[in-house]
Symmetry: C2
Subunit: 397 residues, 2 copies
C-alpha cells in the first residue's frame, strides 16, 4: 500500500476529522492506489477518495464512468466505488473469461450519479457524514466546487485538508520507498545514457533524447529534463536547445521521470573533458554540503538545522557568498513533497521521509553547478538512493 494509514489516522484524530476527501491526482492515487488518467494529464477531470475515520465505514473511490476500466484493471485499495456520468460500452458474451472485464462490468452496474459533486454529496450522506467535520483536499476541486459542496451539505463543517495530506505523505511506506529507489536509479542510468552521446558538437537536445529514451526503456515516464551546456547551465529550468557542446564545458542535469507514478529529482554535473579548476573548486563545496547533510540527517533533527548546517559547510568549503532559500525537499507522488529544508521550516525529520538534498549554484552568464541526491531518513541516519557519488563526471574526449 502506498498510504501511510497509521499516520493518516493519527492526523485525522488530531484534527478531529470524521473523514478526509482526496481530490488532487497525487492524493487520490496515494489514498487508494487508483490512477485516473484524465485527472493526471489534464486539468478539470474529477476523481475523489473519501476516507472516513476508523468507526465511520470503508473508504470509497468516486470517479467517472469512463474511468471504471482503470479501477477494474488496477490494484486499488478502496473497498467501495461510486461512479458519475455515462459512457457507452457494449457487453460481449466473451467477458466471462476475463476477470478485469468482469470487474469492469460489475462497476458499470453501479447506479450513476449526475456529476462529481452529486456523487460526493451522496457518498458523504450515505456514510452518515452529513453533519460531520470533513477535511477536503482543496487542490483538486474545480472552481466553485467547494462552495457547491458547502451549499449542499449545510451541516458539514469543511476544513481544507491539502496541507494535512501533504504532511501524511511526507513519511513514506516501504512500497513507496521501493518505487523511489527505482526511479532514482533510472534517473542516474538516464544521465549515463545521455553522457554516452556527449561529444564535441552534440546538442542539448541530443543528450535530452538519449536521457528520455533510457527513462522509457527502464519503464519510467519522462517528466523533468533540464539539461544545459556552458552558460546555459546557469538557467535554473533550462530546456534543451540546439546549443552545441564544446570541450571543457559544464553539462548540468536536473532531471527525473516517474516510475509507477513516483518522481525522481536528481542533479549531476558533467564536463566534456577535464573540468575547469574553478568549477571543480566550487562544485567540491556544493558536494561537501550534500555530504554533510547525509552525515547529520537522522530522525528528530529539525529541517531548519539541516539547512543551516549545509549552508555553513558550502560557505566554509569554498563559496562564502552562497545563498539559498532551501537545500532540499521531500519527494514522492509530487516532485515537492514535505518537508522543506529551509531556514523558516518548522518541520522535524522523521524516519521514512525521502528527501532530495540539493545545493545548486547559478552564475548567470557563466555556469550552473548543482548536486542533488535522493535519500531516505533511517533510524540510524541516511540511506542514499544513489549509485553515483556526486563528483563531477568528466566525459573522456
Amino acid at each position: 500500500m502506498l498510504l501511510n494509514e497509521p499516520r493518516l489516522r493519527q492526523r485525522m484524530t488530531d484534527a478531529g476529522l470524521d473523514a478526509v476527501v482526496a481530490t488532487a491526482p497525487e492524493n487520490v492515487t496515494y489514498m487508494s492506489g487508483f490512477w485516473a488518467l484524465p485527472q493526471w494529464i489534464r486539468r478539470g477531470p474529477q476523481a475523489y477518495v473519501v476516507w472516513p475515520a476508523s468507526n465511520r465505514g470503508a473508504p470509497e473511490i468516486i470517479t467517472s464512468t469512463s474511468t471504471l476500466d482503470l479501477v477494474a484493471d488496477q490494484d486499488v485499495g478502496a473497498a467501495k466505488v461510486r461512479r458519475f456520468g455515462e459512457f457507452h460500452a457494449e457487453l460481449s458474451p466473451n467477458a466471462v473469461g476475463d476477470p478485469v472485464g468482469q470487474e469492469h462490468l460489475q462497476l458499470r452496474r453501479l447506479p450513476p450519479h449526475r456529476d462529481a459533486i452529486a456523487a460526493l454529496v451522496a457518498g458523504l450522506e450515505e456514510a452518515r457524514l452529513g453533519n460531520g467535520h470533513i477535511g477536503i483536499d482543496e487542490t483538486g476541486l474545480a472552481s466553485g466546487h467547494l462552495e457547491a459542496l458547502a451549499a449542499r451539505l449545510p451541516n458539514v463543517k469543511i476544513t481544507p485538508a491539502a496541507a494535512l495530506l501533504r504532511e501524511v505523505r511526507a513519511v513514506k511506506t516501504d512500497h513507496e520507498i521501493d518505487r523511489l529507489r527505482q526511479v532514482a536509479r533510472i534517473a542516474e542510468r538516464s544521465i549515463e545514457a545521455a553522457l554516452g552521446v556527449a561529444k564535441v558538437g552534440a546538442t542539448e537536445l541530443d543528450l535530452a533524447r538519449a536521457f528520455h529514451v533510457q527513462t522509457i526503456e527502464d519503464g519510467a515516464f519522462p517528466v523533468l529534463g533540464c539539461i544545459g551546456f556552458g552558460e546555459r547551465s546557469a538557467l535554473m529550468n533550462v530546456q534543451p536547445s540546439d546549443r552545441r557542446l564544446r570541450i571543457g564545458e559544464i553539462i548540468r542535469f536536473d532531471v527525473g521521470g516517474r516510475f509507477h507514478h513516483y518522481r525522481a529529482d536528481v542533479a549531476r554535473i558533467a564536463t566534456l573533458g577535464e573540468p575547469p579548476p574553478e568549477a571543480r573548486r566550487l562544485h567540491r563545496a556544493l558536494l561537501r554540503g550534500v555530504q554533510h547533510a547525509c552525515e547529520i540527517i537522522r530522525p528528530g533533527i529539525a529541517a531548519s538545522h539541516v539547512f543551516g548546517e549545509v549552508m555553513r559547510v558550502v560557505q566554509r568549503e569554498g563559496i562564502p557568498h552562497y545563498r539559498r532559500d532551501h537545500v532540499g525537499h521531500g519527494i514522492g507522488l509530487d516532485g515537492y513533497d514535505a518537508p522543506t529544508l529551509s531556514s523558516n521550516s518548522s518541520e522535524v525529520l522523521e524516519e521514512g521521509m525521502v528527501l532530495c538534498v540539493e545545493t545548486p549554484y547559478y552564475e548567470i552568464g557563466r555556469w550552473g553547478l548543482q548536486v542533488e541526491d535522493m535519500l531516505v531518513v533511517r533510524s540510524g541516519g541516511v540511506e542514499r538512493l544513489m549509485a553515483t557519488d556526486g563528483e563531477i563526471i568528466a566525459v573522456p574526449l
Copy 2:
C-alpha cells in the same frame, strides 16, 4: 504567434471586458508563448498573463523569479514582465557575451512582488484596471485566490473567463496548425514503430516502449499511450501491461504526445496477422463514420449535425446499436479543446478549427475498435493531418 488575437479581441469586446487574465498553463502559453515549467508539471505554481483590451496597454507576463530564465530563453509575445518571490543567483562578469543571460539579468532587476496575487493586483492597478471588468481564467488559480483578488480589488467586476478562452483557442492560427500537423505525424510514426516490435509473445509494454521512444526521437514528449491487446483493447483508458500478443488479436492504439506543447490524439487498430472477419466488418462501419465526417465537415456546419450524421452512418454501415456521447473534439494545447461533436453541442464549425474525429466502439470482454483522425476545417472542407487511411493495419506474421 500561437494566439488568435483578432478572435480574442472580438470576444473581449462582445463580453465587455477591459482585460483577460490567463492562469491555467495552456492559457498562459497560448496568450504569451511563455511555457512555465513548474506550472506544467505540478499543481500549485502560479503564472499569469494579463491581456488588456486594445486601448488599455500592453500584455504582461506575471511569473515567479525562479522562472525568469525561461522568459529570457523563450520567444515570448508579451511586452511586459512582472515577477514575484525571490530566487538567489549570482552574476558572472562573463554574462556580457550571452544574450539570454543578459535578458535574464535584466528581468531579475525588476522589483519583486511578495506573491503571485500581490503581483496580479499591482499589475491590474498599474494598468488602471482597478475598477474595470476583468475576465479571469478561474481554472489555474489556487484555492482561495479568486476570493483574495475580489477582496483586494473591490471595484473590479470579475467574470470567469475559462470558457471564453477555450472558445478563442478553438480556431487555430497557422503556427498552431503547423505544430498539430507535426505531432499528428509523430503519433502515426510512433504507432508504426510500436508495430515494428509486434509479434507473438510481445507485450503491451514492449509496444508502448517502442511507441514512446519514437515520440522522443521525433522531438515530442510522451503523454497518452493507451495500447491494449485482445480483450484489453476494450478498456477505454488501457494502460500497457505485460499481457502477451497472440495471433489474430486486436491491438488498439489511442495515443499521442506533445510537440512544442501541442497535443496529438489519434487512434488506429492493428492485428497480428489477418483480422477476424467480424472485427473487419465492425471497423469498416467505424471508419465509414469518420470518412463521412471528412466529407461533410466545412465552416458553418453545426457540431451536432456532424454528430448525427456520423452516428447515422456507423449505425447504417454495420453497428445498428452504436451509441456515443460525442464523435470528436477540438485539440491544441489541451487534449480536449472546443468544439465537441455531440448531440447537445450548440457550436458551429469554423475555418481553422482542428478536430479529432473519432468513432470508438468497446465490447467489454472481447475487443475495442476505434478510428480517430486529426483534421483541419478549411474553407472548402477538410484537410486531414494523417498520413494513414485508418484501415486496420494487419501486421504480417
